[in-house]
Amino acid sequence: MYFERLKGTFRTLRFRLMIWNALAVIVTGLAILVTVRQGIEYRLQYDLDRVLSEDLDEIALNLQEERGLDFARLQRELDRKARGHAYHQWFVLFLDRAGKPVWTSTGAPPLPPISGRDSQQTHLLTTGDFRLAYRELAGTRERAPIVCVGSSIKFIQRDMATIDRMVILVGMVLLIASPLCGYILAGRATRPLASMMATTARLRPAEMHERLKVRGTGDELDQLAMTVNSLLDRLADYLKQKHDFLANAAHELRTPLSAIRSSVEVALNGDRTVAEYNELLAEVIDECGSLETLVNQLLLLAETDADRQEVSADPIPLHVVVSRAAEMFQGVAEFSGIRLRVDELPEVTVPGNRHYLRQVLSNLLDNAIKFTASRYIHHAGPGSHHGNGARGEIRLSMDFDKGANRVRLLIEDNGPGIPKEDLPHIFDRFYRVDRARVRGTATGGTGLGLSICQAIIHAHRGTIEVTSEVDHGTTFVITLPAVTADVPAAMV
């Protein structure tokens, strides 16, 4: 149990951020410390070498320039200097060619013989705890031609030991402090995540009002919160739509159901004549018809719901579907005094479902005929303000855009038009432009026809749009992708 919790902690983002942060800080810190330490050591060594070389040069100058130099005085001076620099254990040696000391200043340590070289270059050498600079001075005392200046390097070692102690101390502070700070900082950085998780965990399909807090810093976490919030908005909309749809569907089913119930109850309340029974039963059958239509349309809507995109795609000759639909409605259009005109249709094959596409055309033509007819029938007769010869007309036309490979289908009528305020809603489910027109009358429908059209056209990856002007007419424009040689129907 405890182990499990520990394992859980290791997996947290906070823990991982801490580890990465600590590693980065420690590695960088140690690299800097080591570099600085090495730099100091090199610098101290270099300075010592410079000092020794300069001292050597000074002695050489003394020896070369003052020919009549009192050697004993020089030795005394050097000896005094050596005593003055006792802390650095500074000393001078005069050596013979074999490297053996001939004269040594005070404090000079015993050294192994230094092999002389036949050159007048300054040589630098470390033996034991001492740093030496030596050089053969030409033309000077034959017995001891090599002058060697030396100094202890112990003071460098002491300084380095101090620096090393400091490096170790700082390193240890880094080792402890950086994970600790990392843990605290990572905690601060991930705190909004914890609050997001808590909020998200509280969300339920029935309570989608809560949103993640956006702190206004504009950082990635804010962006994440905004992305999640917009997803939540869409989900909430979708759920509300589904809920409204279900509620509306139930309401719509209720109406014919209650009509059936009342008819039957009234029939059962007393003895009726056969004619009365017949009348009542015929009403029941009519209401059953309404129920059936509604249920079928609901199922159709469920099948073609654009979100599901499950329309099977066969190559469908759209011009044939259109002309067949026109043929089907020709009779009823003529009967309603409407001219149904079909322009010459280009031959276009679209990927899709014949049954569904026919449904779209039927719904649109049905609407066009019933609304257009309602305008001209009501206003026909003497004194009609449409003037003589005003007549309902519906025009079907199609054009094919080869470049975009899309076909455009237009259904235009000169009916009463759709009021501006209704236009944005006409594809909504159960929306009826004229709520007063009740079921079963000439223009009453289920309020689902256009949303079915939209669902079907969207499932075919097409678009459906409407333009309308009151007292002038309505035009529906459908565009659909066509089948091409390189995109066969089955692939679309």
Binding site: I285, D286, T293, N296, S312, G331, V332, A442
Partner: protein, 223 residues
Amino acid sequence: MNLLVVEDDPVLGKALQRGLNEAGHSCEWVRNGRHGLEEARSQRFDAVVLDLMLPDLDGFEIVKSLRAEGQRTPVLMLTALGSVDDRVKGLKAGADDYLVKPFAFAELTARLEAIGRRIVDRPSSTMSAGPVTLDLTNRRVTRAGTEITLTPTEFSLLEYLIRFQGQVVTRKMLCEHLWESDWEGVTNVVEVHINRLRGKIDRGFEEPLIQTVRGRGYVLRAS
């Protein structure tokens, strides 16, 4: 026809039995799948009306077993599942026809007669109903010897009504027959053609042949 109905819903089953009896068929009704399969195996029936969803053995299984045994008795499936896939599945299993609930009773009897006939039917070049005669080869129509000119739609409509004369034909059936469309909308696309046909074949004659049956459809009666 001698019919077997396999349907678990008591109200629907009873209605089917009564309706089919009144339509002049003898009808046996069983309420579960196993019993239905046994009865169907007996080969006493001209056709089987089979519900798809049954409590013990579903309709698909029954049809498959029957067909696997080499039984050719026509089967009409009834179901509430109406998607294209469901229809295809039913027909593939070996059913002869498929009817989606809710259905018009007239359509059921028409379809039953169609699948019953499918086996013995021989194509005929003329059809007649009372005084009306249809010549299918020349597409000519006469009533009591007088030739009547009909549009192709009207001819097709009349042919269908005569084929099912004496029975109610629903608007949906006519719509499917004429335009292969089961569309159901507000404007009655069929009624217009029926009225025109009436105007042509019934005008000037005492006895109207085509009658409207409210809420159900149309019927062609020749006394």
